[in-house]
Homo-oligomer: 372 residues x 2
C-alpha cells in the first residue's frame, strides 16, 4: 500500500491528506503525565493496555513515564511490541491453539511475557508448549468478576486452577487477573463504584483462599480507564491496566467522572475532508466505516457546534448542518473524535503526530491487524 | 506485521491460525458465473465494485468472467488495483484536494480511469489537475437519486454541470452516476422496486435533458447487489456496479429476493477459535470488533444452530449457547458470516482461499486500508 504520509513531516495539519489518524502530542504527553501523577504513591504498578494503541513508540513512552511494562491481547501483538523494544508484556487473554502456544513460548526467550488461563486443559497445553521450548511461562488465573466473558469462577474453582499451574513444571503461577470490562463504560460513578467493589471482593476472597493454600499470589491485576482509581484504592489490586487514557474517545467522554479524578483529554482524531456539499443542511466527509469505528457510536465533529456526523457508510460520513450554522465548505478539513479508539486505530498504518497543528512525527501502528 | 498465513498453502482449513479471513473458492466462482449469466443478453455492462474486495486477484477474475473493468471509491484503491494489473477503473466518488487530484491525473497515464463530480468548483480543479499532468480525465456527473449522500440534483443542475465538464479542455463528459445506495438494503422487493423506479425516472429525465442540449451521455451507471436486476431492466442504466455478490454477508442475506433472480451464496467467512468455554451456556471466540465489522449487525455462526454470536468486544466474541445444543469445545474452530463484508475485508491483509476445506491460495487484500 502506498505510504500516503511519507512526505508529511514538517507540514501543517491542514495539508495532511485524508482520512488520517492524527495524534496531538501535547495532549498525549499531558495524559501520560496525569496517569503517572495519579498512580504515584498509590503503591499500585501501572501496566497500560497496548491494545488501544498497538504502537511500540507509545508503549516505550508509557514505560519512560513509569509503567512497568504493557498489556496486550494477542500473541501477534506481543511479538510486534517485543520486536519494537518492549521488554515486559502481559497477554491479558487465554491463548489456545498449537501455533499460538508455540509462538508464545518462543517469545518468552526474548522478553518477560505473561499470559492468562481459565481452563485446566489449556494449562496442560501451556505447560507442554513451554517444555517444548525449554522455557517457563508466567500464568495468571483469570477470574470472572462480573463481565461474564472469559474467566473461571472466583473462589474454589480458581484455587484449583492456581494449584494446577503451581504444580506444572514449566509454568509459574503469577497471580490473578480480575478485569471488569463492562464496568468501564457504565456512565454513573455510583454504579461503577458498586461494580468494582463487587469485583474487588471476589478478587480478595480468591487471593485469600490461594494464599491460605500456601501459594503466593504476587499480582492482582485489572482496571481500565473508566475505573482504575477504584481498583487503585481497593487494597487488593496491585497492578492496573488502563489503555484508552492516552487517547480518549467519544464513548469514554460520555462517562461522568468523579471529583478529584484525573481528567484525560482527547488526543486522537481522524482528519477528514468535505468531499461533497450538495445542500445547505448536508455535507459529506471522506471518512466512513473504514476510517472510524462505529461500534460504540458515531464519531463526533470536533469543535464545530451545529455540525453533526449523522450517518456512516463504507467511505462516506454524512454531516447534518443545523440552520444558522456556518456550513463546512468543499475541501475544508475537519477533525473527528472517534466513537471508540481501539478499533479505529486498528484501521490505520500510521499515526500522524502533530504539535501545535504541525506534523512532528509519523509513528507506525506496529501491531495493526495483529489479531491472532 | 508477521505474515501469519505464510506457510498455510495445502493445509486443512481447521489448521489455519485464527482469526482468518476465509474465502471459499468454489462458492466465489459460482457467484462470478451467476452474475455473468444474469447480465448476459441484457445489453448492460458489468463493472463490479472493488471496494468490497480491494483485491486485484478478484478484480482480474471478474474481468475474466466478462466485466468491462471495476469500480472503486478512493484514488489509493485505484492505484493499488492498477498496480495489480487492472486496466479500467471508475472511481465512483468525488475526489477533492490537491494531492489526490494530482495522483488521479497521474494514474490516467497508466490506465483508463474515470471519476465523478457534483460541484462546479471541483470540475475546475479536476480540469486544472488534468492540464498540469497533460491528460484528459473522464468525468461522470453524480446525481442524487434518493440516497441523499453525494450528488447534484437531477435535471437542470445536472445539465449545467455536464455542460461545464463538456466545455473543459482536459475533461471528457462520460455520463451519469445514479447509484441508490440505501435501496440496496431495503428488505422487501416491492419497496426496492419503487426506489429504483424513482431513481431510473430521475436518470432518464436528466439523460434526456443532456442529450437535447447536444451532449452525448454515453454511460448511465449505478446499482448494487440488492437491486442490479432492476437497473438492468430499466432501459436507462447501461452499466451496473454490484460488489457484495462475490461474497455476500449477514446483512444482504436478510434481503428478500425476487423469483427468478440469481441466488448468490456465502463465500466469505471469518474463521475463529473457541478460546474460553467458562459456562455451559457461554463460550468465547477470539474474533471481536477487530476481526469482523459490526456496523450492520453482529456476525452469525455458520451452520451451528443454537449457537449465537451475542456480543463483540475488541478481541472477543461471546457466544450464547441454547439449552440442549452441543456446546462448542475449547479449541474448536467455527466459521462466522460477517455482518457486513466490505469493512470486514478491510481489517485483513490476506484472503485465505480454500477449496473443499483445504487452503489453495493466499490472496493479498491489495488495497487494505487504502482509504484516502
Amino acid at each position: 500500500m502506498p505510504p500516503s504520509h511519507e512526505t508529511s513531516i514538517g507540514i501543517a495539519l491542514d495539508e495532511v491528506d485524508t482520512p488520517a489518524l492524527v495524534l496531538d502530542l501535547d495532549a498525549l504527553e499531558r495524559n501520560l503525565q496525569r496517569m503517572a501523577d495519579a498512580v504515584k504513591g498509590s503503591g499500585v504498578r501501572l501496566r497500560p493496555h497496548a491494545k488501544s494503541h498497538k504502537c511500540a513508540e507509545i508503549a516505550r513512552a508509557q514505560i519512560a513515564a513509569g509503567a512497568v511494562g504493557v498489556c496486550c491481547q494477542k500473541v501477534s501483538e506481543a511479538e510486534a511490541l517485543v520486536a519494537g523494544g518492549v521488554a515486559d508484556v502481559l497477554v491479558t487473554n487465554e491463548i489456545v491453539g498449537k501455533q499460538k502456544l508455540a509462538r508464545l513460548a518462543r517469545l518468552v526467550r526474548q522478553a518477560k511475557v505473561g499470559v492468562l488461563a481459565d481452563d485446566a486443559g489449556n494449562v496442560a497445553d501451556l505447560d507442554a508448549a513451554a517444555r517444548a521450548e525449554g522455557v517457563r511461562i508466567e500464568v495468571l488465573v483469570e477470574i470472572d468478576v462480573g463481565a461474564h466473558r472469559c474467566g473461571i469462577e472466583p473462589g474454589e474453582p480458581a484455587l484449583a486452577l492456581a494449584r494446577r499451574i503451581a504444580a506444572s513444571r514449566n509454568l509459574r503461577f503469577a497471580g490473578l487477573h480480575a478485569y471488569h470490562g463492562s464496568a468501564q463504560h457504565v456512565r454513573a460513578p455510583a454504579q461503577r463504584r458498586a461494580a468494582i467493589a463487587a469485583a474487588a471482593e471476589k478478587a480478595t476472597l480468591t487471593k485469600t483462599l490461594i494464599e491460605r493454600a500456601g501459594i503466593a499470589c504476587e499480582t492482582v491485576t485489572g482496571a481500565g480507564t473508566g475505573t482504575f482509581m477504584l481498583e487503585s484504592a481497593s487494597r487488593v489490586y496491585n497492578e492496573i491496566q488502563p489503555g484508552s487514557y492516552v487517547f480518549m474517545d467519544a464513548d469514554y467522554n460520555r462517562n461522568v467522572w468523579e471529583e478529584g479524578w484525573p481528567r484525560f483529554e482527547q488526543s486522537l482524531f481522524v482528519l477528514a475532508t468535505v468531499m461533497s456539499a450538495p445542500a445547505p443542511d448536508r455535507a459529506v466527509l471522506d471518512a466512513g466505516l473504514k476510517a472510524s469505528s462505529v461500534d460504540s457510536g458515531l464519531p463526533q465533529v470536533h469543535e464545530r457546534p451545529g455540525v453533526e456526523y449523522a450517518k456512516a457508510s463504507d467511505e462516506h460520513g454524512v454531516l447534518k448542518i443545523s440552520a444558522g450554522t456556518m456550513a463546512p465548505t468543499l475541501g475544508e478539513k475537519l477533525l473527528l473524535v472517534p466513537g471508540h479508539c481501539d478499533p479505529t486505530v486498528n484501521l490505520y498504518n500510521w499515526f500522524v503526530c502533530v504539535r501545535k497543528r504541525k506534523v512532528e512525527a509519523l509513528w507506525p501502528v506496529t501491531a495493526r491487524g495483529a489479531v491472532w
